[in-house]
């Protein structure tokens, strides 16, 4: 009986299609990527059933955690305009290098008085620096009030739109801290704002 010969097949697989798919996905992810920004403070947001996402542009976020407030301005152009307006308004001389650093800093939490020093630190030192948070109190002219005010003006000037203000609070944060921030916003007639929450499913 003749031995049946098994045809030897090539073990090479055509990788072309796989390669195409891989690069297609890669292109998609690169184009849609928006790097994750590390919050300077850990804020575990409470859950709610709200499904509305915060807008892509024109928003300000006040992050609250551990009794400290941090401020995020969306958009490089708005940040640049805001810091310039702050420098003009409150007579703080910023060097062009400091302004550039500010434009590339997503969120910050230092008082206005120490901001120039903070911006002069090198990147590694800035990460290591323990930010004390933006001072908030119940008076008319606290630092957060100034920032929100100027950022709103800058945003209105550049994009012709009042930005949406969002509060990202840690769920264990005590209410008085949040109340101070809400009061600061209400002082400049921001009566409608968003609370950032994570999605919760309704348990019936």
């Amino acid at each position: 009986m003749p031995r049946v010969k098994v045809a030897r097949k090539s073990t090479a697989i055509d990788m072309t299609a796989m390669c195409d798919v891989a690069f297609l996905l890669l292109t998609f992810f690169i184009l849609s990527a928006k790097p994750k920004t590390e919050d300077p403070v850990k804020a575990e947001v409470p859950a709610s059933i709200a499904k509305e996402a915060i807008p892509e542009t024109d928003y300000l976020i006040i992050t609250v955690g551990g009794g400290k407030a941090f401020f995020t301005i969306e958009g490089d152009d708005v940040r640049r305009e805001t810091i310039k307006a702050m420098a003009d308004q409150y007579k703080i001389p910023f060097t062009p290098a400091q302004i550039n650093t500010f434009v590339h800093t997503e969120s910050f939490g230092v008082p206005l008085s120490t901001l120039p020093q903070f911006l002069s630190l090198n990147p590694a030192e800035r990460i290591a620096y323990k930010q004390p948070g933006i001072p908030v109190d119940t008076t008319e002219n606290n630092d957060l009030w100034k920032w929100v005010n100027q950022a709103r003006k800058a945003n209105a000037l550049l994009h012709n739109k009042d930005p949406r203000v969002a509060i990202k609070g840690d769920s264990r944060e005590e209410y008085p801290t949040i109340k101070k921030i809400i009061m600061t916003l209400q002082k400049q007639h921001v009566d409608k704002f968003s609370l950032i929450t994570s999605l919760k499913t309704v348990s019936k």
Binding site: C19, Q186, S194
Partner: protein, 177 residues
């Protein structure tokens, strides 16, 4: 490298020496490896889900324009948010009815809101008005939960208002402050 030599044994003997035809195939394995590595990196570094936001509208604090509409006390439910994730509620005016201690959650606050809004609707024919009064001992999560429960129940008439000393006394009496 990725291809095994599966051709039979070499030809023996003479014959014309032909120039070897170079294969036009390029080994793509390494390229695919790299592509997937990059994909993985980008998937992990992007924020896939945008954060969700709950809208909050506060009553205007402006003292000059006093255009508050009076709401009948009979259809006003007041929630006092105390410490230890507990709350107190009462229907009507402060001090007239004794507050009841309740918890957040579907058998606590949600059930209460469902029942009371139905009762108020039957009695007055109007929607119930809910006033949330967080005390200094309440945390942010409590406020959001209370607002969220109102969203779930579908109540749109609500407001967050400062707590009065009288109400703090009520919370203190029940050990929630």
């Amino acid at each position: 490298m990725a291809e095994l030599d599966t051709s039979g044994g070499g030809k023996k003997g003479g014959g014309k020496v032909r120039s070897k035809k170079a294969s036009t195939r390029v080994d793509l394995t390494a390229m695919v490896d790299l592509a997937f590595l990059l994909i993985t990196f980008f998937i992990l570094t992007t924020t896939l889900q945008k954060p969700k936001a709950m809208d909050l509208v506060m009553p205007d604090k402006d003292e000059k324009t006093n255009q508050q509409l009076p709401v009948a006390a009979s259809r006003t439910l007041t929630l006092l948010l105390g410490s230890n994730n507990k709350l107190e509620w009462y229907l009507g005016e402060t001090g007239k009815t004794a507050p009841t201690v309740d918890n957040y959650g579907k058998n606590g606050l949600r059930k209460l809101l469902f029942e009371k809004s139905k009762e108020v609707l039957q009695a007055t024919g109007k929607d119930m008005f809910v006033i949330i009064k967080p005390s200094d001992k309440a945390n942010y999560n409590n406020v959001v939960t209370a607002m969220d429960e109102l969203n779930i129940v579908g109540n749109q008439s609500r407001a967050i208002v400062d707590i009065t000393p009288q109400e703090i006394e009520l919370l203190k009496r029940d050990g929630l402050y």
